[in-house]
Each structure stands twice: as structure tokens, then as C-alpha cells.
Amino acid sequence: MSSPYVFIKNVSKTQYSFLTNSGVIYRIAFSEIPDLFSEYPLFANNVYEFIIALDKYFKDFQPAFDNNIGITIAEIVNDFMVDRDKVIVYFCDVKDRKHKARNRKFTSWFTRFNDNFVNYTIQIKDFEVELTYYNTLIVKSENPYKVQIFEAFETIVNGFEDKYSLIMPLRKLSLMVDTNLKASFFFYKFIKNSIVSIPSAKSSNLGTCASPNLKLFEKRVFVETVHWIFSAFLANNCSKCASLS
């Protein structure tokens, strides 16, 4: 894949810029954000916030649909992430309430142009202001700390370790079963989404947000059941993972 628009970068590869056919200039920045993972010194200094902004003269401009923008941004991310240890966090801007569209677009770019990356999006529903914050983490598939990074991200965003302790071993299990992290993490997300989408959760006014107010009993029964089935599968079918069961 080659970039349809020529992009220019600074020496430290933290700033990129490109010009579209319609004359709009994009500014892309990768800003260090070590304080986010300050409790995880193993990778805290490799974390960068990914910022997409229009140039100052276009800040109130509504860019027309342009398929080349996505490909160019994907190429910029590829260029920046040459180092396998780098981690990107991306927060969808909610200022103009177009955060859902941004998330959809970003997800579609990731799906179409992803070459060697794994992503993880955590949604936070803010019912007071009727907004959903989309927080996405992107790491390279060969990042040696990817599992720890995903766990740390979830801990930081949701504090799952306090009240969702049953989910943690399930995730570890799913990650260890399959050497293909992408597939196993998809499995984990599928299971987790199933948990928060059970009828009792949907009928609550909290929607599908990961909330402590969901009926923990039902969730735990579900998680334990899945865990039991999965463990049984491992014991019977996967000798190298048998110790897990």
C-alpha cells in the first residue's frame, strides 16, 4: 500500500502533514502521554496520543468524503509505528457530537488498511451529558507487552480489576489459547460483549455500558459457564494448554 497523498514529517516523526486534492491541509501529531500508563514503567514511555487536526485555516471547514485520506493516514500510522514497541491511544473528539461517526470511520480505516496491528476500543457512556467516549488503543501484533498493555488500558479506563475479577482470568485464558492474538482477543471481546448485552443489562437505563450496577449475579453465572466450557475444551483438545484447566 502506498500513500495517495504525499506526506511530510519532522525528524522525530511526531508531526506529519499532507495536502488533499481539495486543498485541505491535515496536521497529524503523535504526542507523548507517559502519564497515562505511569504505573506501568515497562511501556509507559512508548505511549503516544494520536491527534488528527485540520490546519488552522480549515478548522471550521467540513471536509468532503475523500477515500484517499484514510489510506494516507493509515500509511502515516505505519510509518510512525515502525518501532514495534510503540503504542497509540486515540480518543474520538466529542466537541461537535460527531464522535460516533469518527469512531465508525476510524474503525473502518483500521479494518480496511490494518496490516500488522491489534486494536482495542473501550466505550464509556456519560449519561449526564448523553455522550459516549470512544477510547482506542493500537499496538503492533509483535509487541512483546501487548497483553499487559491491553490489561493496563482496561484497568486504567474501567477499573475492571475491582469488581470484574472473573473477567480477567477469562481474558488471560483466551489470549493464551490461541497464538494468534488478534483472533483470541476477538473471542474475548465477543464474550465480554455478550456479558454486557444480556437482557437485564439492556433493560437497565445504563444501556450496555460496563457498569457496576449491572446484575453481577447473572454476569457471573454466565462468565463461569463460559469459563467452565472453555476449560473443558482445553483439557480435552489442547495438551499444551492443559495446565490452564
Binding site: S17, L19, S31, D93
Partner: protein
């Protein structure tokens, strides 16, 4: 924000929402910073030159 200030900050959902709001405030500042950052001007001048070639 008023409601959140009254509730338990140890609550998982409250912590998540506070995280979301904090990151949004940070993002707004970062976008403004990037748009005002004069070090981009050099890049953009170079970009314009290249596009005119």
C-alpha cells in the same frame, strides 16, 4: 459534572466517566496546540513546495 461530584469516586462507572471527560479536555487542548504549533508551518511550506513540483 455536579452529579458526579456528589457520588463515590471509587465507583467504577464514575471513574470511567471521569477518565473520559479528562481525556476529552486534554484532547481539546492538544488539538488547539497542534493547530497553533508553528513547527508545523515549516512542514506545510515544504509540503506546498512539493505539491507544486
Amino acid at each position: 459534572m455536579k452529579i458526579l461530584e456528589k457520588v463515590d469516586k471509587n465507583d467504577v462507572q464514575v471513574r470511567s466517566v471521569l477518565f473520559g471527560r479528562t481525556m476529552q479536555k486534554r484532547l481539546q487542548k492538544q488539538i488547539e496546540k497542534v493547530q497553533k504549533d508553528t513547527s508545523f508551518d515549516t512542514l506545510i511550506a515544504e509540503l506546498r513546495l512539493k505539491s507544486n513540483e
